[in-house]
Structure formats: structure tokens, C-alpha cells
């Protein structure tokens, strides 16, 4: 009986100690949980405050300059497109940047007509994907089956939907200079941008200005004229700003002092010979938008 009593006392003491430790643990846990919640709330509030501030300053200034290409394409979630950078001035061409290697184009798709086709072949950019075809235009890019995929011919846009890519380079317009309405051209071009964004919202989209033709072609051709090309390029640049995609003034890579393509650049005054394709490549390699945040 005494032993039982002793055991009862020992048990009771142990029980009390257990209860004491348990309460200490509960208190510690409560403190920890509270601290975590406060930290999370504070971080969220700070992030929201930063987002509001950058949105306000972009709308106030209208054209905030971005000199450093490294900061040109950071993430922003303000308009639903996670890759729109509200600090980048989309109204201006991509500024000169550090030269990248050919490997930069490993995950790039080039979309265009015969000029881009020639560029890919002559520049040796075999690592890039080329969805190009002679005579391809801003409307037929959706409809004309020109890309061979798995033994079947499909349109460029259909092919793009089945492709992994991070960058797109687009150049259209030379074949459309004969269209009666510029508005139709730019509207269709805009649809291409919208579709690419729908396929891959994270892709860097470069729209290249239409390269000029030689003065001889401009003077003699029935519709391919440098004045028309300049008019189209102004529309493309405006569209790039509106759609917040990157405009490259590729023409500067090959144009002469008068803005025309030099006579020795192309046998027919339109399609670039290899040396000029290499100049084109060099320009693209020194005009990129990098985003280390990706």
C-alpha cells in the first residue's frame, strides 16, 4: 500500500512535469506561428506596395528610358502578361548590348519570308528554328502549309504551337508592300503577335523592321519601294510599342548612307548575299534584350 502510494506520488509528479513541458511547447509553437504569419503578411504588403509604385511612375512619365538592356525585361504582373516590363521604353528600338554568342539563338524561332530563309541559310544559324517560306506573308503565316512536321505540311502558327521556344524573331512586309491598305497589313501583323503571346506568354518577341531594297529596285519595281517600306516600318514600330514587344531596327545593319540597300548587297536588289546576311546576324547578336530574372 505504501509502495503503491509512493508510486502514485512519483506518477503524479511525472504527470505534472509532462504537463509543464507540454505547456512550454505549446507557448513556443504559438510564438513561432505568430512570428511566421507576421513575416508573411509583411512581405506580401511590401511586394504589393512596390508593384503599385512602379505602375504609378510608368503612367506618369509615359516614356521612362531604359539604357541598360539588363534591366529592360524584368517581370511585371501589371497587365496580365508576366513578361511586360514597365520600365522598358517599347517605343524605341532595342539598344545596343553586349554581343551574344550564336548559342543565344538555341531557343529562338525565326519567322519570315524568303529574306529570312536566306538569312538562316547564309548565316549558318543551324541551331535556331526557322519557320520561313518564300512569299510568306502576315496572313498566310496562319494558313499556308509550308512547314514539314512529322511528315506533314502545316502552317507556321500550327508548327509554333508544337514547338518549344523562348524567343521569336519576326520579319514580314516586303511581300505586302503591294497590298492596297497598310491598315490591313498592320492588323494582321498584330494578330501574329497576339497568337505568339497566347502560345507562349513568356517568350521574348522581337519584331524586326523590314530591310530596305536597293535604290534601283525602289525606282523600278511596281510596288516594292523604300518609301513604302519606311511607312510600314513606322507602323511596325508603333505596333511594337502598343503590344509591348521589342523592335529591332535591323535595317541599320545593312543600309547605306542614303537608307537604301547598297547595290552589291543583293543580286536582285532584295535578297541579301551572304556577306550582308552576316552583317544582319552581327546586328542581332549586339541587340538583344536579356532578362536574368527568367
Amino acid at each position: 500500500m505504501q509502495q503503491n502510494g509512493r508510486y502514485n506520488r512519483i506518477g503524479a509528479t511525472r504527470c505534472k512535469k509532462r504537463k509543464k513541458y507540454t505547456s512550454y511547447l505549446l507557448v513556443l509553437f504559438a510564438v513561432f506561428a505568430a512570428a511566421t504569419s507576421i513575416t508573411v503578411w509583411a512581405t506580401k504588403s511590401l511586394a504589393m506596395a512596390k508593384g503599385e509604385t512602379s505602375s504609378n511612375s510608368a503612367s506618369e512619365s509615359g516614356t521612362e528610358q531604359a539604357d541598360n538592356p539588363e534591366s529592360s525585361a524584368t517581370e511585371s504582373k501589371n497587365d496580365g502578361n508576366s513578361d511586360v516590363d514597365n520600365t522598358y521604353d517599347y517605343s524605341k528600338p532595342v539598344p545596343e548590348s553586349d554581343k551574344v554568342e550564336n548559342s543565344y539563338f538555341d531557343d529562338a524561332v525565326f519567322i519570315g519570308d524568303s529574306r529570312t530563309e536566306g538569312f538562316i541559310l547564309y548565316s549558318g544559324l543551324s541551331n535556331a528554328i526557322s519557320y520561313t517560306s518564300q512569299g510568306l506573308m502576315v496572313d498566310t503565316v496562319f494558313t499556308k502549309p509550308v512547314i514539314n512536321k512529322n511528315g506533314k505540311k502545316i502552317s507556321v502558327m500550327e508548327a509554333l504551337r508544337e514547338t518549344d521556344f523562348s524567343k521569336v524573331y519576326i520579319m514580314f512586309g516586303i511581300n505586302e508592300t503591294g497590298w492596297p491598305y497598310s491598315s490591313v497589313f498592320i492588323e494582321k501583323y498584330g494578330e501574329i503577335i497576339d497568337e505568339i503571346k497566347a502560345i507562349n506568354p513568356d517568350a521574348i518577341i522581337y519584331v524586326q523592321e523590314i530591310l530596305p531594297v536597293t535604290d534601283k529596285v525602289s525606282q523600278s519595281h511596281s510596288y516594292v519601294k523604300n518609301e513604302k517600306i519606311n511607312e510600314f516600318n513606322a507602323l511596325i514600330r508603333q505596333m511594337a510599342e502598343e503590344k509591348k514587344v521589342y523592335y529591332i531596327d535591323t535595317g541599320k545593319a545593312v543600309a547605306g548612307a542614303d537608307g537604301s540597300l547598297p547595290e552589291d548587297a543583293a543580286s536582285d536588289g532584295i535578297h541579301l548575299k551572304q556577306p550582308y546576311c552576316l552583317k544582319w546576324l552581327e546586328y542581332l547578336k549586339t541587340h538583344t534584350v536579356t532578362n536574368t530574372e527568367r
Binding site: S114, R115, E117, G118, L121, Y122, G124, S126, S133, Q134, G135, V146, A266, S267, D268, I270, H271, L272, K273, Q274
Partner: protein
């Protein structure tokens, strides 16, 4: 009689085999210097455009041919359908498959140019796409000098 027929059958089989072997041997003796022939075509055949060489990776993509031993391909800037392609394969079977791919390319180019630059279709219709032993030669040019150039080249090789 039976023995005679049997002997005659065997003799005829041997003779026919020898003839086949002789033909294939003759074909296989054609030896083409890829660089030399493509250079001659570039220099002497008629082209409206300035053709430039492309590297192996592009050749493989363009012609969908992976198994050639050596190749030299010159292409146009895009202004024309003109092209020169000379391939060496490791055997006639591979060369036959290579020729099929070359012909497919010509057909596809024909479709492309029909709506793009219709006047180039004539060059594609008159394109040379031939196999000589383990070699395949493609030439899309303006005019008909390419055939003479190739014939003269191969004749000269056979004389040596």
C-alpha cells in the same frame, strides 16, 4: 539431255551474273572530286544569281540527307531557284536514297516558286538530278550548259 539442260542453265546463270557484275563495276568506277565538279559548275554553268556555299548542318536540313560522305552545296540568295549540289555516298544504295531526297526537294521548290517567282519554275523543270554510282549531282541553272559540263568532267575522269 537432262545433263545438257542442267549444264546450259548453270552456264547461262554464270554468264548473266558476270554481265551484271560487269555493269555495276563499271558504274562504281566513276570517281568524282566533289569540290572540283561543283566548282566547274559554279564557274561555267549559267546562273542569274550569285550562289554561296552552305555548311554541312544546313545541307542536311535542306536536303534531309544525313548519310553522305561528303557534299558541296551552293544556294541562291532567295532571288532564284538556282542551286548546285554534289554528294558522295558510301555506296549506290545510299546514293539512290539521296537522289530520291534531292528530287523531293526540287518538287517542293517547284511548288514554292510557282506562286512566288513563276519564271523560276522552268529552271526547276529543267533541273539536273542524276546519280553516277555513289555520287548524286543536282544543278538548277539558267540554260542547259550544266549537262555538257558534267558529261565532259566524267569523260575526263574515265580517261584518266
Amino acid at each position: 539431255m537432262k545433263t545438257f539442260k542442267k549444264t546450259l542453265s548453270i552456264a547461262l546463270s554464270i554468264i548473266m551474273s558476270a554481265m551484271l557484275f560487269g555493269c555495276s563495276s563499271q558504274e562504281d568506277t566513276v570517281c568524282i572530286d566533289i569540290d572540283a565538279l561543283s566548282g566547274e559548275l559554279l564557274e561555267k554553268a549559267e546562273f542569274e544569281d550569285e550562289l554561296s556555299p552552305i555548311d554541312d548542318t544546313m545541307i542536311k536540313k535542306l536536303y534531309n540527307i544525313e548519310d553522305y560522305v561528303k557534299a558541296k552545296v551552293y544556294i541562291s540568295s532567295g532571288a532564284t531557284a538556282e542551286e548546285i549540289a554534289v554528294f558522295e555516298f558510301d555506296g549506290t544504295q545510299a546514293a539512290k536514297a539521296g537522289l530520291d531526297n534531292a528530287e523531293i526537294r526540287i518538287q517542293e521548290r517547284r511548288i514554292d516558286f510557282e506562286s512566288y517567282i513563276p519564271k523560276e519554275v522552268k529552271k526547276l523543270d529543267n533541273a539536273i538530278a542524276n546519280r553516277f554510282g555513289k555520287y548524286v549531282i543536282v544543278c538548277v541553272s539558267n540554260g542547259n550548259k550544266a549537262e555538257k559540263i558534267i558529261t565532259q568532267y566524267i569523260s575526263k575522269q574515265n580517261e584518266e
